[in-house]
Amino acid sequence: MGASGSGKTSMRSLIFSNNPASLTARLGATIDVEQNHVRFLGDLILNLWDCGGQDAFMDSYLNSQRSTIFSHVAVLIYVFDIESRDTQKDLEYYKDCLEALKKYSAGARVFLLVHKMDLVRGREREGVLGKRRGELEVESGGMQVGVFGTSIYDESLYKAWSRIVHTLIPNASVLSKHLTKLAKCCSATEVILFERTTFLVIATSSPPTPPPPPTTTTTASSTITSPTTSLPTSPSKPNQPLSSTNIAETTSTDLVDDPHQLSPTRYERTSELIKSFKHSCSRFVREEFHSLELELGEFSAVLDELTKNTYVLIVAHQGFVETAALKLNIRLARKKFEELQGDSLISS
């Protein structure tokens, strides 16, 4: 939900329909509610309700349609236009929606997207977003909300949506555990799992944890003889054990113990880059992107299908890892992940 013109339909068409940002200018205002069933991870059906934001519609959602709109909601995504001319009105509607949500779908998660951040000049973005976040948290009156700055013109949209869908995947932490295992088998630095059509990140391997904190992992961790432990750039910082439940919140931000210190925006940037290349493939030669292999100076990487509904990216920084080996490991891991995925969805 969100005011008319705030960008709801645009982001939906980018994430779920593989349309380029440049085409969104042609979208007309959404009339009433547009319902979309999108298959996510094959068997998980997301029922997206794109609610046209003109005042007349908003009033009707909040009055006559109140119970229809706000029942059985798993996630509310509220979009705020950074250039909105009437922020007061936006907030009133938002608070009213929140009330209705509390009544009809008490367990729903709430995400607030401060959108069109590209219209704010680069170095002011952080400040502007910080201020909006503060305001919105106050207005949410104690309700747990995730606030993200987004734009259809950069990777920020993928970051926000990855977090959103992450909350809908029941067994993300199990996936993460197996990705970590796969990483270890490949001597890889990192393994990242993407959903096939959206290319949103659904899980990642947990970072190598040198030196292993005694409380978090089982004896298995002591068998990792990772050369990373001896690298000079890894100072012994206080350990912040990652519990498997909050992994969603910690994976794509700063990994304090990561000796590689890879770019903190790499996950969402990868989603964006692959999405846009996929688009080029279908637009220019009407072929579908299938896989990618890189042997660069600093790392090798393979991006390939893992299961019917997922892609996996394996990144290795150790000199002896060949992409052929990574590909082989992906092939070997396929069956296990097909099973896991089946399990995780049945249990939901």
Partner: protein, 373 residues
Amino acid sequence: MASTSSNGNGSIPDNVIRTKILLTGMRRSGKTSIHEVLFNNMQPKDTFWLETTTRVRKHHYDTVIPLEIWDCPWNAGPETLEISLVEFAAMIFVIDIQDLYQQPIAKLVEWIITACTESPDMSLEVFVHKSEALSEDYKIENFRHIQQRVLDELADISLEYEQVPVNFHLTSVYDHTIHEAFSRVLHKLISVLPSLEDLLNVFCAKSQAPKAFLFDIHSRLYVATDASPVDTATHNLCCDFLSMLNAFGPLYKSVSASPARCRKPLPPSLPTPPPSSPESGHSTSLPSTLSPITPKHSSKELFYPSASTSLSPSAQGTTLTYHLVTPQLALVSILPTTVYESRRGLVEFNVVFFREGVQEICDVELDGRTLRH
């Protein structure tokens, strides 16, 4: 020197003769945007913030030939330049496709006439720019109209000017037209182009590649291609492949893993046996024209980054490959996936040969341009 900026990897010495390109046109026609988008990796959207250029800026760019690009302010004329037009290998005049045509055309004609007398060998290029802003029909109509007006005015002045070769290109920084147009301008300035093309032709024939480009990595201009015609869609896809690779590298760059991993390439092996996959039937039917080319000397033990991506339609997929050739140049080729998968060793073998050829040509080219005292 204050107005000279340099990019590239700095391996080209100062005392080298640079090929000069003049970039001129009316105010806000898009000259600086073109330079920034091509050579400084600026996002097209960000060109909006560029300020008007008030004096000539000379930019160095190192690719197969070292370039010096002069970005002129709108009021520059042939008479205000500090050196003669004869010093320039090419002039690019930029016209905003939606500009009122009277003024820019008068200015362009003035440049052309001076060029004809002062510098008859200079190539004359007109970029009819910001073309993405118009619909397809309207775009072509305006383009023809501008072209006709220029030729008419030249003919009006003197019939001898009717024969002046002026090349027109439709361009925009928002799509790949600017890359394609600038590439074509560049080709005319590369004296070793025929040798590069020969190498590409041989590579394509021996590797069963329907198309191959030698790209400048950072600007994504192609400096040469094989003899088969350039299909715009394929060119655009290769450009996007490069830009994805350019962005991917830094994302997973580690602060601690040694950058020079000293990864040794496997010794290029002869065609590997096809994998025992269901599709292996295809590879057995490959024509026997695939044959290794023998490099003149054994490959040096160096690591060259490479990448590939496979695309799969229902029928038969394509693979795009990328192989670094020099610090600035990469070979991008299109291969049927079946060929790449079954004959990868052979393709890599041919790349080694190609690379040595290009490196040699570049060395000779640079050597010829270096001033000795």
